[in-house]
Symmetry: C3
Subunit: 257 residues, 3 copies
Amino acid sequence: MKFNNRNVFISKNAQIGKNVKIGDNSVIYDNVIIKDNTIISNDCIIGEPLQSYYSNVNDYQNPPTIIGSDSVIRSHCIIYCGCEIGDYFSTGHRVTIREYSKFGTNCRIGTVSDIQGYVTFGNYCWLHSNVHIGQKSTLGNFVFVYPYVVFTNDPTPPSDLCIGPSVGDYSQIAVFSVLLPGVKIGKHCLVGAGSIVGKDVDDFQLVVGSPAVVKKDVRQVKDRVTGESHYPWPYRFTRGMPWSDKGFDEWEKEFGI
Amino acid sequence: MKFNNRNVFISKNAQIGKNVKIGDNSVIYDNVIIKDNTIISNDCIIGEPLQSYYSNVNDYQNPPTIIGSDSVIRSHCIIYCGCEIGDYFSTGHRVTIREYSKFGTNCRIGTVSDIQGYVTFGNYCWLHSNVHIGQKSTLGNFVFVYPYVVFTNDPTPPSDLCIGPSVGDYSQIAVFSVLLPGVKIGKHCLVGAGSIVGKDVDDFQLVVGSPAVVKKDVRQVKDRVTGESHYPWPYRFTRGMPWSDKGFDEWEKEFGI
Amino acid sequence: MKFNNRNVFISKNAQIGKNVKIGDNSVIYDNVIIKDNTIISNDCIIGEPLQSYYSNVNDYQNPPTIIGSDSVIRSHCIIYCGCEIGDYFSTGHRVTIREYSKFGTNCRIGTVSDIQGYVTFGNYCWLHSNVHIGQKSTLGNFVFVYPYVVFTNDPTPPSDLCIGPSVGDYSQIAVFSVLLPGVKIGKHCLVGAGSIVGKDVDDFQLVVGSPAVVKKDVRQVKDRVTGESHYPWPYRFTRGMPWSDKGFDEWEKEFGI
């Protein structure tokens, strides 16, 4: 149904891998590299030029953009030039990823999410719909972020300071939370819904509220159905995770972070 | 001005009713049924295939999608296959509706809203801009939801549990509120701005806060101009409502829910 | 790279200035005026018709729409008819601006922001990503609004009342804040992250919380690095501001508001 090659524009200076499909009305700009088996769906823009392109069209050189292999970019996404995106990446619709964003492998970015550029993601970060990641944010591995979360970076707006938050491996940031500029969230943390986090959070803490305060150790949070501890969640949730076959302990011994 | 039939793609396996208009750059996929007098504006995708399409293009069969009569889908919307949408539906721009969503008649979905699929809406539900409805949510009839409201469904993220909230007839969910997983909101309720609702709410209650607590009976809330009780709102607001001619009491006797 | 003139539609009744560029797949409807040196990027809709167009295609006249000179409208934006937009305007991607919105000069509107129409902006208003401005809102000059802020206008939803908030010159509204209907924010104010503002705010106040209360005079807020007062911010932040050459005091004497 898709991929009829209608109204597709691919720069001569793009490199398109084997078995790549590009949807109708999509545009691939200069110096984009798309690796094998990747799908770019309809109405996407890959390698969107920097602001300076508009003021200096003739001398402008588009920085290289890399989209990993075996990825799926759904329709209406815009990915700027200068991004380096690992293999097995996937997005929802209408995702905007600004320039010089770096993603490890197996990341997923939900519909309408807005990545502001100059960010660093590890592997297996999953962002749900409508997440806003400010410039210079850092996410570790297996970080999950839920809808309408905002990572901020300017402590006294407006200013020229830009101090992104950072989130450690396996941490979860629930809906409607704000990470204030420069906050460091540890590993295996849970930020509860609607929290505004202004202070650093140690590993394994559940923080909630505005301003967010420590409520308990996440290992005390029970599963609603089984009544057992749900966290650390890698023992309870394996769908799409690299330990789905052998279990988290075994995986961690071999490959763990 | 619109509807020049430029760059439109309609599957041979779609059924297009009488007097239907389809805007430029729009795509109608396999097994979509669009009923009479409906308008699909520019740059829309109707019948977007499931994830499994991408991994198995050859054997894939697109589930049927039904768009009711006399509807207006504004530009840049994406509606997945498997949806059943009643007559007199309308959307703003850039709405995403995922698979197997069911809507009664006369529903309106605002710009950028994101319906995650597997949801059930009654009749006359109006969602304002930028509402996020998680999977397995249930809305009754005449439910109005205001901007930046999120319906969630996973009590201990990440997990494989998915317990959507439900909202009763005539209830109103104000801006920036979150319904936590499985919460049941009664009929004629008002959830105040910025609330996080974690407990069930009885009929006619005004709840506010994080966590949301009962403040008063909604029938005690006054109209700012007249000083009279504003709720139950169907006595005060009739624009676009089926009781606009005869009044709510008379309508309810004849057709009411 | 852009501007290949593929699949562009421009009404015969539009007036396009000198040195204007229009991106691929964009549409310019009747009675749109685009002034000199302006760039409309890909997949944009300028002069989107009113609702009445759909019910009365033959007699419909599109109200005039003016896009100022030296502006940049990024891809996937939709600007309705009846808008009057000053010079040096710029937008991110996927911005929706509904009918009869008025903007002074040098305004910037971030990605996914949703301007609901019938609003009035002064000069140099900067909206970050994903801001929602309800109908009949008024912004002064040099008002900065950060992500996921909502301006509301109906005190007892649903009703036919529409009372927009107003914000004075130089004020800052931080992430995740809600301005309730009819609230008046003074000049040089700072609304802290996650606030719900239900009462008017005097000049130079920092308000925070839900409901928002006065915390201090903004002139007591220190810069995190220098330890000096950061506000009034025009003395500390000059990037893109008209006083970047001569300083705020000097500029204000000559041109100030």
